[in-house]
């Protein structure tokens, strides 16, 4: 995406992965970038390992806070299987960005079901524009597992019509002082996971 009037971004992952914070930072960046923005998610039980999604919409004027299936321009999945769960939200030309990290749901962890195989192939049936990154490894190399979320924001920034400084401004505006630096590094590391042209 270069300069666009508006778009729909769906973030999906597992409670505890910091999706809410990532979506806050993205919203702040869109606001700094001069867009109207709305986002919607359900929280209150997000800490306990359930599937979590955030609907984020930006443009000159946004009405509905919800994205309809089949209309997301970008899917950002913080966990691989969650990409599959929400891939039907993608619009025909939409792109999917997935973290390679696997987190087992209870049925898999207790051996009642298997973690799905061939996820990437199944995702490609929906979109040729699939990008898989190892955000966990990038975060661990920064010495901060909790930075997976901002690594993903960095990778996602390639698909969004904002200058990269806008994200770092948003991080500074939004995060408490003492964690700004590690998150700015996480953002850069995430951005470095994909080539400039996506």
């Amino acid at each position: 995406m270069s300069v666009v009037a508006g778009g729909n971004v769906l973030l999906a992952g597992v409670g505890g992965q910091g999706i809410l914070l990532a979506s806050e930072v993205l919203c702040e960046a869109f606001l700094l970038g001069g867009y109207d923005v709305k986002k919607s998610e359900v929280h209150g039980m997000a800490q306990r390992g359930g599937a979590v999604t955030t609907h984020l919409r930006f443009g000159p004027k946004v009405n509905s806070p919800l994205i309809e299936p089949g209309t997301a321009d970008l899917l950002v999945a913080f966990e691989k299987m969650e990409a599959l769960r929400f891939v039907h939200y993608l619009s025909p030309g939409g792109a999917a960005l997935a973290n390679a990290q696997e987190i087992y749901p209870p049925s898999v962890a207790t051996g009642r079901e298997r973690y799905p195989a061939g996820i990437e192939e199944r995702l490609r049936e929906f979109t040729p524009r699939l990008f898989v990154v190892d955000a966990l490894a990038a975060a661990l190399s920064l010495g901060e597992v909790r930075a997976v979320n901002i690594v993903m924001v960095g990778a996602a920034s390639h698909f969004l019509p904002l200058e990269k400084e806008t994200y770092t401004d948003a991080l500074r505006a939004f995060l408490p002082e003492k964690i700004v630096e590690v998150n700015v590094r996480a953002f850069r590391a995430g951005r470095g996971l994909l080539p400039a042209q996506v």
Binding site: V14, G15, G16, E24, C27, E28, L31, L32, D36, V37, K38, K39, S40, E41, V42, H43, G44, M45, Q47, R48, G49, G50, A51, V62, N63, S64, P65, L66, E68, P69, G70, M81, E82, L84, R85, F86, V87, H88, Y104, P105, P106, S107, V108, A109, T110, G111, E113, R114, Y115, P116, R122, F126, V145
Partner: protein
């Protein structure tokens, strides 16, 4: 008006916007009990300078405190989730009669789709039943504006005012323009006024007449209230809508004519008639009950509504578009993926208790909190869940129905905060009426479900001031329970021994499981071991998996893989602990007969 300085526009959730609106309206006192999706209203309001904000033990007390503050002449707010209004209904219905001095606003945050609730009730009916006006914002900006307007209406019409949100208003974020806080409308002070404040039948009868007059005046006000507005467009379709449904309508039918109702009660009759007369097809789009629809029909106006728009769950633009225009856009079906329900956190103290309970053959009456998740497999250790505090009354009812046969067979489980909210009176009933049900209070030192709020047992207030911490065992003893025991739920043997003994006892008993919620900052700061499964020792018996800890993962084997790993060909797999998730609670090592789970390095 142009949007000037950037810092005057903030991205707020509906809840943050209501908090801001209350601050700008000069609210001095706010009280609430946490409940999704309303919790963040008070959390955010408490951060403003010069205000008083508190967690009340329950919603009834919250409304009584707010009404008291109003009596003393300051603006006051009470906030709760939809089912909280059921608890608070008693003072609310009579506050409608007394009216107010300082403005009084009651926020009801409804939860269509039951994202985190036990029912999907539509609280617009409360406005009608209690004869209280209700405003309904459709985004964050309106949430702030309507909060301020609600206080003005409250004082002008001498009435409490409901502000109703739904989850997609409470938790959706949008841009909000900030304004300046205003001072109090008049100097505080309690003025004696028995005819207004003492609701003896004699006085209340007279107040009822005033209430009816007030509602007529409000109906007139609704005709010109700018929050009720017609947006004329294509006249072949006219839609009446309110709340977040307005956004879906605008998205689905950008060209249609729309009557947007910012006031759910009372409704503007003339405005509705004018709109209906101006369009050829009239449809009401609203979530949950046919509330507006019924009203429009009562005016004798033909209208479509629930035959097109579902009564169950929340809406979205597609449901609205397809409901009204028919047809359906081709969308690809979702992929088949293993479900991912929420789970108790790794290291959660509740898991230890429920594991022990799962091995007893007992009926477990449950309650509202994180621990309700113990109803899911593999623990599957809960048989009922109704409302805040119901576990205790339910257990006692089962005991009375089954008589002696219930001895050792019924146990109620309830969280610390839930017990304080509504469980105490149930326990009094058991003691008073000579029961023997066992009650387990899960004391994890916080109100965890809604994100770790303070409560009367935590020794800390919402404003982060240290305070008296409620003595739960002392309270149970004062009620008359002679057998009150505290156990550490991470110690499975101790928990089981005490549980067995108390279940068998033919007298009321309370077991308090005491261990902090793993989300509490103090707990997170503590260094704890991480456990690991020694692959060579694991026999794949799956005993540890019965805990359902998210950190314990099953690694399945084919017979060849089993042999390659040096196992019997018949071994189906081994357990593995995800060290990124393990919280070091030491529960699973107690289940492994083969001593395969040991403290790891980090």
């Amino acid at each position: 008006m142009s949007i000037p300085a950037r810092q005057l526009v903030k991205l707020f959730s509906g809840n943050e916007a209501i908090a801001r609106g209350a601050f700008e309206a000069g609210v001095k006192v706010a009280s609430a009990y946490p409940g999704t999706p309303s919790t963040e209203i008070l959390e955010n309001f408490a951060r403003y300078e010069g205000v008083y904000a508190e967690w009340a033990p329950n919603e009834k007390v919250a409304v009584e405190v707010a009404l008291g503050a109003s009596m003393a002449g300051v603006r006051a707010l009470a906030a709760m989730k939809h089912v909280g209004v059921n608890v608070a209904a008693d003072p609310i219905f009579t506050a409608s009669y007394t009216g107010v001095r300082g403005g009084l606003v009651i926020v009801t945050a409804d939860d269509p789709e039951l994202h985190s609730s036990q029912n999907e009730q539509d609280n617009r009916h409360y406005a009608v039943a209690a004869k209280i006006p209700m405003l309904e914002p459709s985004d964050s900006e309106e949430a702030k504006d309507f909060t301020i307007i609600a206080f003005e209406l409250s004082e002008k019409f001498d009435t409490p005012v409901f502000l109703r949100t739904t989850t997609r208003i409470s938790h959706a974020k949008g841009a909000v323009r900030l304004g300046e806080p205003s001072g109090p409308p008049f100097p505080p002070g309690f003025v004696r006024d028995p005819a207004k404040w003492i609701m003896l039948p004699l006085n209340a009868k007279k107040r009822h007449v005033i209430v009816e007059k007030r509602m007529l005046a409000l109906k007139e006000f609704a005709e010109t209230f700018p929050g009720n507005r017609i947006e004329w467009g294509d006249r072949s379709l006219g839609i009446i809508t309110a709340g977040v449904s307005y956004q879906y309508v605008r998205e689905a039918f950008p060209d249609a004519s729309v009557l947007k109702l910012g006031m759910a009660h009372p409704m503007p009759e003339r405005l509705i008639r004018e709109f209906a007369a101006g369009v050829s097809r009239l449809v009401v789009v609203e979530e949950l009950d046919p509330f507006i629809e019924t009203h429009v029909k009562a005016l004798g106006i033909p209208v479509q509504g629930k035959e097109l728009i579902p009564i169950v769950g929340e809406l979205d633009p597609r449901i609205v578009r397809e409901g009204i225009a028919g047809g359906s856009a081709p969308v690809r079906a979702p992929e088949e993926v293993p479900s991912r329900p929420p789970n108790l956190c790794p290291g959660c103290p509740h898991r230890g208790l429920f594991y022990v309970l799962s091995k007893q053959k007992v009926i477990v009456t449950g309650d509202i909190g994180c621990y309700t998740l113990a109803a899911l497999p593999p623990l599957s250790t809960m048989d009922t869940c109704i409302c805040m505090g119901a576990s205790i009354g339910n257990a006692f009812g089962i005991e009375k129905a089954l008589g002696k046969a219930a001895l050792g067979k019924v146990v109620a489980v309830i969280g610390d905060s839930t017990f304080i909210h509504s469980g105490i009176t149930g326990l009094i009933d058991i003691v008073y009426n000579r029961g023997f049900s066992t009650v387990i209070i899960l004391d994890n030192r916080t109100t965890a479900m809604t994100g770790a709020q303070e409560n009367p047992a935590t020794g800390m207030t919402l404003l982060k001031d240290p305070t008296h911490s409620l003595d739960l065992p002392g309270l149970c003893r004062a009620i008359g329970v002679e057998h009150v025991y505290i156990v550490n739920p991470h110690d499975l043997a101790q928990t089981e021994a005490v549980l067995k003994r108390e279940l068998a006892r033919e007298a009321p008993s309370v077991i308090i499981t005491e261990a902090p919620c793993v989300l509490l900052p103090d707990h997170r700061k503590k260094k704890r071991p991480v456990y690991e499964v020694i692959t060579d020792l694991c026999t794949g018996c799956k005993a540890c998996g019965k805990l359902g800890c998210p950190a314990i993962e099953w690694v399945p084997f084919t017979p060849e893989e089993a042999v390659a790993a040096g196992k019997k060909q018949t071994q189906k797999g081994i357990s593995r602990i995800n060290t990124l998730l393990c919280d070091g609670c030491n529960q699973c090592p107690q289940l492994c007969k083969f001593k395969a789970i040991l403290e790891g390095k980090s």
